[in-house]
């Protein structure tokens, strides 16, 4: 059975439904700040956020925000929230707001290896994971692999395979 991905959510309700972007943005930031203080996110990073809002007499507003690289604090998430709000503003007064953070990374700190090649592999692996989150599917990136480089039949020498890491 497929394991459900762990996520973290927080919600708030406005005393009065609002259309003010600044108010909504401050609320998003406050919710993110609340989430990052939770024990399950302490010292961790997230790859994306799901923003949703109940709109007066309108369908729920929802945006999926994939961060360019994993973020570990609300200040780093804010520019992406601001962008999402500016590009796709809610269609009416917002009554309540929910922020869900997902793609929680396993590392508790971003510590680089002393070995250049290991660091390079780590960076590549991380970049591919983030790309998968942004695209919503496995990115069409392959690596060239020698299969039978000595073969007299050219199409048997090399293939493209998904990237693999030692």
């Amino acid at each position: 059975a497929r394991q459900r991905e762990p996520v973290c959510s927080a919600s708030m309700t406005f005393p009065t439904a609002t259309v003010a972007h600044e108010t909504i943005l401050r609320a998003l930031q406050a919710l993110a700040a609340q989430l990052f203080t939770r024990p399950e996110l302490r010292g961790r990073f997230v790859r994306y956020a799901l923003l949703s809002a109940s709109i007066v007499r309108r369908p729920t507003w929802q945006r999926r925000v994939a961060f360019k690289e994993p973020v570990g604090n609300p200040a780093r998430a804010l520019p992406a929230f601001k962008n999402a709000l500016a590009l796709h503003p809610p269609a009416g007064p917002v009554e309540d707001l929910t922020v869900t953070l997902g793609g929680i990374t396993g590392e508790t700190a971003r510590q680089g290896s002393l070995l250049v090649e290991v660091r390079r592999q780590d960076q590549l692996r991380e970049a591919l994971r983030q790309l998968e989150v942004v695209m919503g599917k496995r990115p069409p990136i392959y690596q060239v692999k020698d299969v039978q480089p000595w073969s007299r039949i050219p199409e048997e020498r090399r293939v493209l395979t998904p990237p693999s890491f030692p």
Binding site: L124, P140, I141, Y142, Q143, V144, R152, I153, P154, E155, R157, R158, V159, L160, T161, P162, P163
Partner: protein, 97 residues
Amino acid sequence: MVADSGGAEGPDASIVPLNLPQPIDVDTDADGRLIAVWVRGRRRPVAAVRAVWRVDDRWWRDTRLSRLYLSVLLDDGLLLTVFTDLLSGGWYRQSYD
């Protein structure tokens, strides 16, 4: 890393073969010798044949393979490797490295 070239996928969808033969239109003389190839819709006469070699393989299998490769210099200076499939008679271009 390379981007997806959109090549045909084999039984394992995650493995994409590289450098598959690409069909090519050619002109031959009465003796069957290659005199021109068609590249991007244009007829390119063959200026010289630099090398010829034959590959026979998989003769013990149903997927027997028999090809005559030619490394040709076209009139505009382009170097191309083509082969004729000696079993089907078709012509293809393929890098041989």
